[in-house]
């Protein structure tokens, strides 16, 4: 290991981006997973499409061929960023809760209620809604954590079950308390104008939520790597037994990490409402948490890479959408590609392949050298 001594870096983290190969190689593998999935996508297109060249071009380049597609990508990045950040925190603590799906959905419902029934000036109105949605999302996030601490219930299972519960609770609230009965389709009452987020660029849907997401990327990075709470989360993730032994209160850490994660989910739901809609019109749960899983995995659990991976996912989405509108390949084919990405990234052996090989080679070479030099052993490391 040849990186020099660094004084300015944070414990547990090396440099700003990559300063040694241990960090670089998994990043390259991640890049490989991304590129490989795109190539596999092109391969699939050639298998099923009647005019494959055109479809492939639309898929790969489409997102950049039209200005409005670029805005679409930026808009799509916002919810992906929030759920991605939320899952980064959960994954850093080595937990598997997917309750952020509920936090996001209920966050949107709470924001809807606030958008309809609360009277506040512009600016304050969506801010209040985000806070209310965040806090609600945070408390929802606590539930699987409490079940885990109290009864050792697996948080992945309980969160998946609770997601159903909260989906129906949300629908119930919309249907019975917030529904606009003058509409034939399912829709809530319209939001007040003060609730809507300002547009960043006129005549596009790109809203101020994009800036909020960017700010939260920085906040969550700082939280995870520069505060003692982030340190505690990373420690229980690195080795929970060790954390308890060293004197951390593990249940407390599990609780607030889930709360913060749920808070981010809830905020994401509120921003989606205030940014894109005039009323709550979701017929079903958009399930951004599952996308958040891919985003967090592509970002290697590190918040600072979340914008990159959110962008990549948005790029695939918009490309696939653009292509499906103009050709004979269905949008859903990207779920295959997403599955492929997860398969590659979930395999430690693939991710650490280069590292293992390099270490083996240098170790062998070093001993051979030492032997040639006449020393009976390699000496101190």
């Amino acid at each position: 290991m040849s990186d020099g001594t660094r004084t300015k870096t944070l414990p547990g983290k090396v440099g700003l981006f990559f300063t040694n190969r241990d960090a670089l190689e998994p990043a390259l593998v991640t890049l490989f997973a991304a590129v490989f999935s795109l190539l596999a996508g092109v391969g699939l297109i050639f298998l099923v499409s009647k005019e494959p060249a055109q479809s492939a071009r639309n898929f790969l380049l489409g997102p950049f061929l039209r200005t409005y597609n670029i805005y679409y990508m930026m808009i799509a990045m916002v919810p992906l960023t929030f759920t991605g950040l939320a899952l980064c925190i959960i994954y850093q603590s080595k937990h598997m809760s997917l309750i952020v799906d509920s936090s996001f959905y209920i966050g949107a419902v709470v924001a809807t209620a606030a958008g309809i029934h609360v009277a506040l000036p512009a600016g304050w109105h969506p801010a209040f809604a985000m806070l209310a949605a965040g806090i609600t999302g945070g408390f929802i996030g606590l539930l699987p954590a409490i079940l885990k601490i109290r009864w050792r219930a697996n948080e992945l299972v309980s969160s998946l079950m609770l997601n159903y519960v909260f989906y129906f609770v949300g629908s119930f609230v919309i249907l019975y308390f917030l529904r606009d009965r003058n509409q034939t389709i399912l829709s809530s009452l319209p939001f007040r104008n003060t609730f809507l987020l300002p547009r960043l660029i006129p005549n596009t849907q790109l809203h101020a939520g994009f800036i909020v997401a960017a700010v939260f990327v920085v906040l969550v990075s700082v939280f995870l790597y520069r505060t003692k709470w982030g340190y505690e989360i990373r420690m229980i993730g690195a080795n929970q037994k060790f954390a308890a032994y060293a004197g951390l209160s593990v249940p407390t850490v599990i609780l607030y990490s889930h709360f913060v994660s749920g808070f981010l989910g809830g905020m994401g739901g509120a921003i989606e409402m205030a940014g894109l809609y005039k009323a709550f019109i979701w017929q079903m749960n958009p399930s951004y948490a599952w996308d958040g899983v891919i985003v967090a995995m592509l970002a290697r659990k590190n918040p600072k890479f979340v914008p990159l991976s959110a962008f990549f996912l948005a790029y695939m989405r918009v490309g696939a959408d653009f292509m499906s509108r103009r050709g004979d390949v269905a949008f859903e084919f990207i779920t295959l590609l997403q599955g492929l990405i997860i398969l590659i990234l979930a395999s430690d052996k693939i991710v650490n392949y280069f590292k293992a090989r390099r270490l083996q080679r240098t170790a062998l070479a070093r001993t051979a050298e030492a032997r040639a030099a006449g020393a009976p052993a390699g000496g101190a490391e």
């Binding site: 060790f242 954390a243 060293a246 004197g247 030492a370």
Partner: protein, 517 residues
């Protein structure tokens, strides 16, 4: 004598890049007992795993009876006549000894049914033939550790082993049981069996072996006939420099009581009483050693004291603080540090950096955290200080602990706990897995902390270590304190052995003196 097994330029590099064997050349002669010595991490176990087919070699060849062999798994090695007794036994506790013996090669009746009676007969015959006494019809859970070990040896013989590998077989035995095992092994050798005996205890090697091969840092350093060599030479070869085998130690000056332990009891998940009304007082400026055969309640006692297990009865007090069933967090806050026995799964967070590991018990102190934010330069400075003082070999404190060598991982734990703001230290197996050079340093540090007036509870299965470090001693057997020795230097290990086996017990009045009331 002819060569039965030979390793030529054998290399083994693990997936994480550790070169555990570097061009190892080893010769084993037919019908000898070969001692394989070296410190923990010298590569003995790896070499034997390669020989036993559990790990494929990275390069080099293995010759059995002069022919090159390549084992895909330990099944191949067993078929070729190599048997191994692991440090941790591989037995089915709920089956009888006879059933364990024949497991995988069961005798069958003509009908194809399992023939239990013949299994027992086989066990009796083998037991008599090799003079290894076992009770074939007893269940493994009910017999002593030393009988389980005999069973393991018989298992390899039943499978036709011509070469028997024993990995640190004496670490679970009392001195008396060790003597018995050695007599049996010598008898086996005289019947023509070849034995490879792995150990890091030189005394045993001199007692038992015909030749000895010394390994250090993954390579074979030398091989000697046992008659041509002395202890000092071998220990120097093991370490690579002069070692002082003795320890300068001032007399202890014990002060007032630092930790008051009264009537602790612990029952494990199987309903077995592991700690049985244990009481003692630990005084300032004193090292109190706890000895006993592994599994007699020492680990559980430590877990209760450090907040990792709950006692059913009694109390733990430190000064004015009641620490009975307190959380590890509260125990640490009260000023108790703890070198955990299991350094890999409890004592360190392997994926985290050295600095993160070193600061884990103190990151929330004002010196290292302000308003919730970590003070990064202070953290780095503290980590660097510990890295330097404890000579943790790394390129930077930001390196992951997982990338360190075993010995340096140990030093991370020792470094953190020995620099903690604590006046009571519970030290479990401080030098297990540590190389001799570092052992010396750790021992000196423990002594200097004692001289500063700290109270130290030392639990170690290395009798030599406990005897040379401790000021006074308690002996544990099946969860009870069976003896207290106010002066550790006045005890012999033979005498200790009698107490460790439970053959002798001091009377209550004598034991109660450890309360210092």
């Amino acid at each position: 004598m002819e060569t039965i097994l030979q390793a030529v330029d054998l290399c083994k590099v693990y997936g994480n890049g550790t070169a555990a064997n570097k061009f190892v050349n080893l010769t084993v002669r037919r019908g000898e007992i070969l001692g394989l010595v070296g410190e923990n991490g010298a590569g003995k176990s790896t070499l034997m795993k390669v020989v036993y087919g559990e790990e494929p070699p990275s390069s080099g060849t293995l010759l059995l009876d002069g022919k090159s062999v390549r084992f895909g798994s330990s099944r191949d090695a067993i078929a070729a006549g190599i048997g191994m007794v692991h440090q941790h036994f591989m037995l089915v506790p709920s089956l009888t000894l006879a059933e364990n013996l024949v497991l995988g090669r069961e005798p069958r009746k003509k009908s194809g049914m399992y023939d239990l009676n013949r299994a027992v007969r086989i066990a009796e015959e083998l037991s008599a033939k090799y003079n290894l006494r076992i009770i074939p019809r007893a269940r493994v859970v009910d017999v002593s550790v030393s009988m389980r070990q005999k069973l393991e040896i018989l298992k390899t013989l039943y499978r036709g082993a011509r070469i028997l590998i024993l990995d640190e077989p004496t670490s679970v035995l009392t001195p008396q049981e060790t003597d018995e095992l050695f007599a049996e092994l010598k008898a086996l050798r005289d019947k023509g069996q070849t034995i490879i005996f792995i150990s890091h205890k030189l005394g045993e090697v001199f007692q038992l072996c015909d030749r000895v091969t010394v390994m250090r840092d993954g390579a074979v350093i030398a091989t000697h006939d046992i008659g041509d060599v002395d202890r000092q030479t071998i220990s120097n070869e093991m370490v690579g420099r002069e070692v002082r085998l003795t320890l300068d130690k001032k007399a202890a000056a014990p002060g007032g009581t630092a930790l008051e332990v009264r009537d602790l009891s612990f029952v494990d998940d199987f309903g077995i009483t592991m700690v049985d009304r244990v009481s003692f007082s630990l005084r300032k400026g004193e090292i109190l050693g706890v000895v006993g055969v592994d599994g007699n309640g020492q680990s559980e006692l430590v877990r209760i004291l450090t907040g990792h297990a709950r006692t059913l009865t009694g109390s733990v007090r430190k000064g004015g603080t009641d620490l009975t069933n307190a959380s590890p967090r509260k125990v640490r806050k009260a000023g108790m540090a703890h070198v955990a026995e299991d350094r890999m799964t409890v004592g360190t967070a392997l994926p985290a950096s050295i600095a993160d590991n070193l600061l884990a018990d103190r990151y929330s102190e004002p010196a290292f955290t302000g308003g919730g934010f970590l003070r990064r330069s202070a953290i780095q400075a503290e980590a660097k200080g510990i890295v330097q003082r404890f000579d943790i070999r790394c390129s930077s404190p930001n390196q992951a602990v997982a990338s360190l060598s075993g010995g340096n991982m140990q030093k991370v734990v020792i470094g953190r706990e020995f620099t903690a703001a604590a006046d009571v230290l519970v030290v479990s197996q401080p030098t297990r897995g540590v190389d001799i050079g570092a052992i010396e340093f750790i021992h000196r540090t423990i002594l200097s902390m004692r001289d500063e007036g700290k109270a130290i509870l030392l639990v170690s299965s290395d009798l030599g270590e406990v005897l040379s470090l401790s000021d006074s001693l308690i002996v544990m057997h099946s969860g009870k304190i069976v003896a207290w020795f106010p002066d550790a230097s006045a005890v012999t290990d033979k005498e200790l052995g009698l107490y460790m086996l439970g053959l002798k017990t001091q009377d209550e009045i004598e034991i109660r003196k450890v309360l210092h009331e």
